[in-house]
Symmetry: C2
Subunit: 343 residues, 2 copies
Amino acid sequence: MAKRNATLRDVAALVGVHLSTVSRALDPRTRHLITAELAERIRAAAGQLEYRPNAMAYSLRTRRSRSIGALIPDITNPIFPPILRGLEDVLAPLHYVTLIVNTDNDPDQAAEAVARLRSRGVDGLVIACAMRHDPMLAQLLADHLPIVVVNRTSDLPGLGGVIHDEAHGMAALVAHLVGLGHRRIAHIAGPGALSTGAGRLAAFRAELARHAVAEAPGTIVQAARFSEQEGERCAELLLAAGRPPTAIVAGNDLLALGGLQALRRHGLRCPDDVSITGYNDMAFVERRAPPLTTGRIATYAAGRRAARLILQQIEGAAPAPVERLAVELIVRGSTGPARPRRQ
Amino acid sequence: MAKRNATLRDVAALVGVHLSTVSRALDPRTRHLITAELAERIRAAAGQLEYRPNAMAYSLRTRRSRSIGALIPDITNPIFPPILRGLEDVLAPLHYVTLIVNTDNDPDQAAEAVARLRSRGVDGLVIACAMRHDPMLAQLLADHLPIVVVNRTSDLPGLGGVIHDEAHGMAALVAHLVGLGHRRIAHIAGPGALSTGAGRLAAFRAELARHAVAEAPGTIVQAARFSEQEGERCAELLLAAGRPPTAIVAGNDLLALGGLQALRRHGLRCPDDVSITGYNDMAFVERRAPPLTTGRIATYAAGRRAARLILQQIEGAAPAPVERLAVELIVRGSTGPARPRRQ
DNA sequence: TTGTAAGCGTTATCAG
DNA sequence: CTGATAACGCTTACAA
C-alpha cells in the first residue's frame, strides 16, 4: 500500500558495501570506525534514498523503543494538556515519542493501558493518575519498569516524580482569607483517595490551627470527584446548614466553579457574601465572573520535570524522592473582605 | 533492567510444543487450526507466564503497527483535547495507540514530525493542522500513506477527512445578529491560509449579501493567528474607525475573547453597546462574563469520525470526500438587540 | 493438526 | 577499517 521505505540493505546496494558498514556509518557512535570518505558517500546515498531507520527493527534489536507512556485521567481536563506539552517539549527533541492514554481514573482501565503500553515496549511510564493506595504502581515498581508520578502521588515508598506543594499552596490561600478577616472558613475537600485531595485537606486543617481559627463542625465536606457537579453538591451541603461560612476553600477550580453555581442559586453574591477560592489555576479561569482566586500549580514545569526524571531512570538512575513544585497564590475577584453577618 | 517479558518461545517450552503452534493458538484467526484441548493448555500457559505479544516484533513482521499519528497545532488549545479523546475512544478498543505530536502550526515542525512518525511505522495519520496550501499533505497523498484531515482541510483534491460546516455555522450566527436588528456587522477573520479562517470569511460575506446587508469598507479585518492577542488587535482596528459596528463576528472564540478585552478598554459594554460572537464553543466559554454566543463545533464527534475514516483507509478503502459536521448556534449573553447609536 | 524455516530491518559480535 | 553472521520475537507459507 504505502511506499516501502529504503532500508540499510538498499543503501548498501547503492554504495556497494555491506549493510553493516552502512549501519556503522550512520550511527554517530560508530562513525569513527569508517573511512571519512566512505562515510560521506554512504550519508549521501542514504539521503538520496530518503533512508529512515525502521524504529521497530531498532527496538526489537536494542530493547529500547524511545517511547514513553503517559497515563492521565482525562485529556479533556484542562490541567493535563500543559503537563503533556511539557513532557513532549523535552522528549521530542530527544526523538522520544509519548503514548498518551486516558484512564478516567478507573484502575481497571489503567491496568489495561499499562499492559498494552508494556507490550509496546515503552521505556518508561509517566503516571498522572496515581492513587494513594495503588497496587498497580507497586507492581510496576516491583517489575523495575522506570516510572515517575506527576501531579498526584501515591503513599508507596520508593517512588519518584514531581507533584505540587499542597501544604504551601493551601497555606497561602488560608492566610489570604484569614488576612481578609474570615473566620468561618469551609473546605470542599477533593477525593480522599488522591494525594491532592487528602494533602490539601490536611494542609487546610493545619493552617486553620496555625491561625488559631476554630474548625466548626460540618465545615468540611468531602467531594467524591474533582468535578463541578460535586462542587455544587458539596456547597449545597455547606449552605443548607444554619450559619453559612463567609469563605469556602475548594479543593480545586472545578469544585470552586460548582460552588459558585450553588452560591448563585442561594442568592448569595461572591465575594460580597461569600468568598471562594479554587486550586490549580486552570486555563481561562481568570476570565470568569468573578475571576477565581486560586493556587497556581506549575503544570507545564511539572511535565518538563517529569520528562527529565523518567529519562534519568531510563538511563539507570534510581528514582529520586518525589519533588514538590511551588504553588503560587493568585488573588483575583472571588475573594474579598469578610463582612459582618446577621446571625 | 526491567523484567524480561515472556515470549512465544517461553510459552512453547512450558507446554512442550513448537512456538508456531503457540502463535496460532493465541491468534483468534488461526485458533481453529489447533486442537481445542491443546489450545486451551496453551492459553493457560500463556496466562501463567503473563505472556504479552511483543508489538515491535509483530510490526516488523506484519508491517502493521496498530498505531496512528495525530498532528495537532497545540494540545494546549482547548478545541483539540476533545478531538483527541474522540480518536482514542474509537482506536483504543481496537488496540491502536495514538502518537500525538504538536506542530505549533509550523510546517517545518510538521514535516519533522511526519518523518519521525513514518519511521515509527504508523499505519496512518490524522492531521488537525492542515493548511490550505500544504505541500506536505500532497507528498503524503503521493506516498499513499493513509491520511485524514480533521477540523481543518486543504485545497488539495482527493483528500479524506471531516471538518465543520462553516457555511452553515456562519449563516446561523449572521442570521441571529440580523434578526436582532444589527446592520453594521464587522468580522474579525481568522488566518486566510486556513480553511477555517477562509471558509468562515467567505460564508460571512455570502450571508451579509443574502440578507442584503451592506458590507461597509473597513468592516472586515484579518487576524494573523487564532489568538486572543490578535482578536484584541483586530478589534482595536474596528473601534478606531469612525463609526464602530454594533456587532462583531469573530472567527473563533479566542478572537472573540480578545475582542471583548478591546471593547472593555474602549468603555463599550457587551452586549449593550456591541454584540460579539465566537466560534467553536470551546470549554468554559459559557462561564465567562458575558457568556459567549457562538457556533458549537462537534469536536468529540469529529475525532471519532476521523478515527473511523482513517481505519477505513488502513483497511484499503480510498479516501472519501471530506465530510462536514453540523455547527450548532449557541445563543448566550454576548449578543443582544441592536440599539440606535449616535452617529 | 502440528512442525520447519524463512525473513521483517536492525545492531553487535565475530573474523578477516 | 570492513564483511559475514547471528540474534531480537513474531507470522506464515510449506512440509510432514
